[in-house]
């Protein structure tokens, strides 16, 4: 590279390298931490019976979705042979202030739907809300609790489901499509 004609590429290279300024360097070597904006760290279901008694189910992702510490679930026993009003609250506690994800779900109601799938417990769930097109969202629901039993209820949030597919508006997940944003299997005890 001692010949004059070969200097040009070297000069070009030097010029381009010199173009890397201090801000770029900081951006590379000391990036700001990224807040996971779409994380759901906590899912609550608040229940209330006709007399004003409240019950709560709560799932908490330790370390967030990608954490390795797993999932903590606490579920109150539900009273047998009652009707309960239920509301789902989703939070992202990894950001400050805490983000109420269920508010985003409400705002994008047409693109979301909750499904409640009881297994071995006499519970039937009916939707008590509607999106802009008249299809259910599931943030609010009515739970008919039957005889005492022990089982589980899977709570799923589908993003971009096909709400007009057969059975979907009635809470049947079979034809719903979409992708799961939440899937928690709550242990359910009815007494």
């Amino acid at each position: 590279m001692t010949k004059p004609n070969l200097f040009l590429p070297v000069l070009l290279g030097a010029a381009m390298l010199a173009g890397c300024n201090k801000d770029k360097e900081d951006e590379l070597t000391s990036p700001a931490p990224v807040n996971e904006e779409e994380l759901i760290t906590d899912a609550y279901i608040h229940f209330m019976d006709g007399a004003g008694n409240t019950f709560q189910w709560h799932a908490h992702a330790v370390g967030g979705l990608e954490g390795s510490s797993g999932l903590q679930i606490e579920a109150d026993t539900l009273p047998a042979n009652t009707q309960l009003q239920a509301e789902v609250i989703l939070l992202n506690r990894s950001v400050s202030p805490v983000d109420t994800v269920s508010q985003e779900v409400l705002e994008e109601g047409t693109a979301h739907q909750f499904f409640f799938v009881p297994n071995q417990v006499p519970i039937t769930v009916g939707y008590a809300d509607q999106d802009a097109n008249g299809f259910p969202i599931g943030l609010h629901s009515v739970w008919q609790i039957g005889a005492p039993a022990t089982g589980e209820v899977a709570v799923l949030l589908r993003h971009q489901p096909i709400k007009d597919a057969a059975g979907v508006s009635d809470g049947d997940i079979t034809n719903a499509g979409g992708s799961n944003d939440l899937e928690v299997h709550f242990p359910a005890v009815v007494q």
């Binding site: 590279m1 010949k3 004609n5 070969l6 040009l8 590429p9 070297v10 070009l12 290279g13 381009m16 390298l17 890397c20 770029k24 951006e27 590379l28 070597t29 000391s30 990036p31 700001a32 931490p33 990224v34 807040n35 996971e36 904006e37 779409e38 759901i40 760290t41 906590d42 899912a43 799932a59 908490h60 992702a61 370390g63 979705l65 990608e66 954490g67 390795s68 797993g70 999932l71 994800v101 985003e104 779900v105 705002e107 994008e108 979301h112 589908r158 993003h159 971009q160 096909i162 499509g177 979409g178 992708s179 799961n180 944003d181 939440l182 899937e183 928690v184």
Partner: protein
């Protein structure tokens, strides 16, 4: 009958096509054109000294010699204004002759005709596609163009993303060399296709072997080379326009190029080229593959100046691409994946559209290159290349809260590479090259995505020295030996899941060796053998992935303790001619021993609030990959040929005593070809009908995949091309058809095999008009 393009660049003369038939009934078709601007050299005299064979080229520079035997001939070309040249041609042609010469008449005085370029792949099995072969391929994109070559497969992520795989090794284990520069474009994942316009080059070479000595890191499975185009050196304008339309995707593309010299400045040449492609949703036999449209645009410009002793070239290219990802492949957790597999068809289909929605990718790749060379006495020359690549990738996911227009991944990768090579000749028999190369790279996550980056910020420095020497032992035997030493330093800047900030540094030192042999045992039998080593320092993703990979609904965990992969690969290729040249047989076997082979291994499930996810860890094992490629071409009747092509690959995990994941299934393709060199005003007519069988991959590891490898499938394809002169140029037309029987199938190497069938029938037409090349005064120099 066989038509074969010989990329021979003589100063003035360029025979273009060669046809062979029966014993002493072989016909040589050729075309003589000016090396500088491609214009035909009319009335060139072509003789075989010492025989009665002689011909005179017509006004298109074409000539025909008939009644030749299957042996070697020396052809002598003479034309007013050019130095007479001699060219040895072996009939039937047993190897692609490549002749390296400087273009200037002055150079001819001290440049000898050598049979090989000093940087040729002596002992390695390789295949070169020239422009004519590229246009007859039915695939699009780099991977599609080379995907029919025996031993080459395409690793797909749906219909829009394809990456080349060579001998069962893909991804980071295949190096892509674009315009002589190693392509650095975020090739970490299988959903990151090489960002380049294959049509910006006239030739694509696929080297099927470990080529760590020649090309450095990553060349474990092989190398795909889009070769730089030589610029014109004398005045005269030449150009080309091309149009193409496809039925599947209901779209098409256009491209064009212009090149020329500058009057009054001898040796100065330029070239500009551009192309664009727009395709809508792809169609499988039974449904629309919703959100699989693509938009491509690219352009390049080059200018170069050459004198007898030195030269310089500047090159710039820009490639832009936006592509949709199959909507039904967006999944939230592993239940979605299992649901998709159980259903057997995509859960989301919509009417055909050209629109592209999330999930989608936009990528841009820019390459700026400066190259200079100078002769240092005799034939020795010094070359220096500097290149800068800027690659920007944005991936948009289906997100909540109006975030689908905010990229979930926003990467900015800047790479500087420099290379200095000394090409030298030591005595009559020994020649080679020695050089140094360096790389500097920064990967930056552009803030604002609201998603924890899977690939952290990093800075990489890499430097190497290498030498490759070739020894000619007579006309029929050539040996090659080479070595390389390379060091890599990687600085990573990353937040851990626990929230801490770490800045680990990794250093890797690697070496590669290569020995090759190219032996013309007889005129009709040639052996190429190579044993070489190659290496690959681990990618950042393999070291530091820590999180959910949305594309696969899996949690991927890297291992910072991983070392470099090392491969020893041996290959031998036998090329033979039989039945008096009517049968050509090409058989090559390969075996690779891979140490520290990095792969993802399942490690249970992780329960999250989004459901359960399988966990995969990057682990190193030892592996053994071996296989066989074969190709034959039998001219069973004049104008008719049958061409079977076979690829077999086997891969074993030597630690787990199991098959390797995602090894290509056995593939056999049979083509029936009809060729006519001249038919009235038309010429170079070629039609081929190809039946491809891809077998079921029964050799898959247990417990890694979510689904059994798909069953085998048959595809039928058609390809035709024909040309004629029109005005002052040449017109070429073509018709391609792929998957003509509209078979519904899924391929084991397609990451979207869980979600939907591959694409159905596609019929496309193309037309190309090239013009110019006559502007040069007929006998001036």
């Amino acid at each position: 009958m066989r038509v074969k393009a010989i990329p021979v660049s003589l100063s003035c003369l360029l025979p273009l096509a060669l046809c062979a038939q029966t014993p002493c009934n072989l016909t040589l078709h050729g075309r003589v054109v000016d090396e500088h601007d491609g214009s035909p050299l009319d009335f060139t005299s072509v003789v075989i000294p010492g025989t009665a064979h002689a011909a005179t080229a017509d006004d298109q520079g074409r000539f025909t010699l008939e009644g030749l035997c299957p042996r070697s001939y020396t052809l002598r070309f003479s034309h007013i204004g050019c130095l007479p040249r001699e060219q040895r041609v072996q009939l039937p042609h047993a190897d692609t002759l490549v002749l390296y010469l400087e273009h200037h008449a002055l150079e001819l005085a001290d440049v000898e005709v050598v049979a090989k370029r000093p940087d040729d792949h002596v002992g390695q099995s390789h295949t070169t596609l020239d422009r004519a072969a590229m246009e007859l391929q039915d695939g699009t994109g780099l991977a599609g163009l080379i995907g029919d070559i025996p031993g080459v497969q395409v690793l797909r992520t749906g219909p829009t993303i394809g990456k080349p795989m060579i001998h069962g090794l893909g991804g980071n284990r295949v190096l892509v060399l674009n315009q002589g520069v190693r392509q650095e474009d975020q090739q970490w994942g299988s959903e990151h296709a090489p960002n380049l316009d294959p049509l910006s080059s006239d030739r694509i070479t696929v080297v099927k072997g470990a080529a760590g000595v020649q090309y450095g890191a990553d060349a474990i499975g092989g190398v795909v080379i889009t070769e730089p185009v030589e610029l014109p050196v004398s005045p005269g304008l030449r150009g080309e326009v091309q149009l193409q339309g496809s039925s599947n995707g209901r779209g098409g593309g256009a491209g064009g190029l212009l090149e020329g010299g500058v009057k009054g400045v001898d040796g100065l040449g330029w070239r500009v080229q551009g192309s664009g492609l727009l395709l809508g949703d792809q169609q499988s036999p039974e449904y629309v593959l919703s959100n699989t449209g693509t938009r491509d645009g690219g352009g390049s410009a080059a200018i170069g100046w050459r004198t007898p002793r030195q030269g310089i070239q500047l090159y710039y290219s820009l490639y832009l691409r936006e592509l949709g990802i199959l909507r039904a492949a967006h999944i939230g957790n592993v239940d979605d994946l299992q649901r998709a597999i159980a259903t057997g068809e995509p859960w989301y289909t919509a009417p055909f559209t050209h629109a592209i929605e999330a999930p989608r990718q936009t990528v841009s790749h820019q390459l700026g290159k400066a190259k200079a060379y100078r002769f240092l006495g005799g034939r020795n020359r010094l070359e220096a290349t500097y290149a800068f690549q800027l690659d920007e990738r944005r991936e948009y996911d289906v997100r909540r809260g109006g975030r689908s227009d905010i990229p979930a991944l926003d990467l900015h990768l800047a790479t500087h590479t420099g290379e200095g090579v000394f090409k030298h000749f030591i005595g009559e028999r020994l020649h080679g090259k020695a050089g140094i190369n360096a790389l500097y790279q920064e990967n930056l996550n552009v803030p604002g995505t609201g998603v924890r980056p899977l690939i952290p910020n990093y800075r990489k420095r890499n430097g190497g020295v290498f030498a490759v020497e070739h020894l000619d032992l007579g006309a029929n035997l050539e040996l090659e030996a080479g070595a390389r030493l390379e060091a890599t330093r990687l600085e990573v800047y990353k937040y851990t899941l626990a929230g801490g900030f770490i800045t680990p540094v990794h250093a890797y030192t690697d070496h590669a060796l290569s020995f090759g042999l190219n032996w013309g045992i007889r005129d009709s039998l040639r052996l190429r053998a190579n044993i070489g080593t190659a290496f690959r320092p681990p990618q950042v993703s393999e070291l530091y992935s820590e999180g959910l990979h949305h594309g696969t609904a899996a949690i991927e965990v890297g291992d910072p303790g991983l070392g470099s992969e090392h491969a020893v690969k041996a290959s031998a290729e036998l090329e033979a001619y039989a039945l008096h040249g009517r049968l050509r047989l090409n058989l090559s076997g390969h075996g690779s021993r891979l140490g520290g082979f990095i792969q993802l291994q399942p490690d249970g499930f992780q329960l999250t609030i989004r459901g359960a996810f399988p966990v995969f860890r990057y682990t190193a094992t030892d592996a053994w990959i071996y296989g066989l490629d074969g190709e034959a071409e039998w001219n069973f009747l004049p104008h008719w040929a049958l061409r079977p092509r076979l690829s077999l690959v086997r891969g074993r995990d030597l630690q787990a005593h199991a098959w390797l994941y995602q090894m290509p299934a056995d593939r056999l393709a049979n083509s029936l070809i009809f060729r006519i060199p001249e038919a009235g005003r038309w010429h170079a007519l070629e039609c081929s009908l190809t039946a491809t069988v891809v077998f079921h991959q029964s050799r898959a590891p247990m417990g890694i995949d979510f689904m059994e490898p798909p069953r085998g499938y048959h595809l039928l394809g058609l390809s035709t091309g024909v040309g004629r002169s029109l005005g002052h140029g040449e017109l070429r037309l073509g018709l391609e058809g792929s998957n003509l029987l509209n078979a519904a199938y899924r391929d084991y190497l397609d990451a979207f095999r869980y979600y939907a069938d591959a694409r159905g029938t596609d019929v496309s037409v193309w037309v190309r008009y090239s013009f110019g090349g006559k502007a040069r005064p007929p006998h001036g120099e």
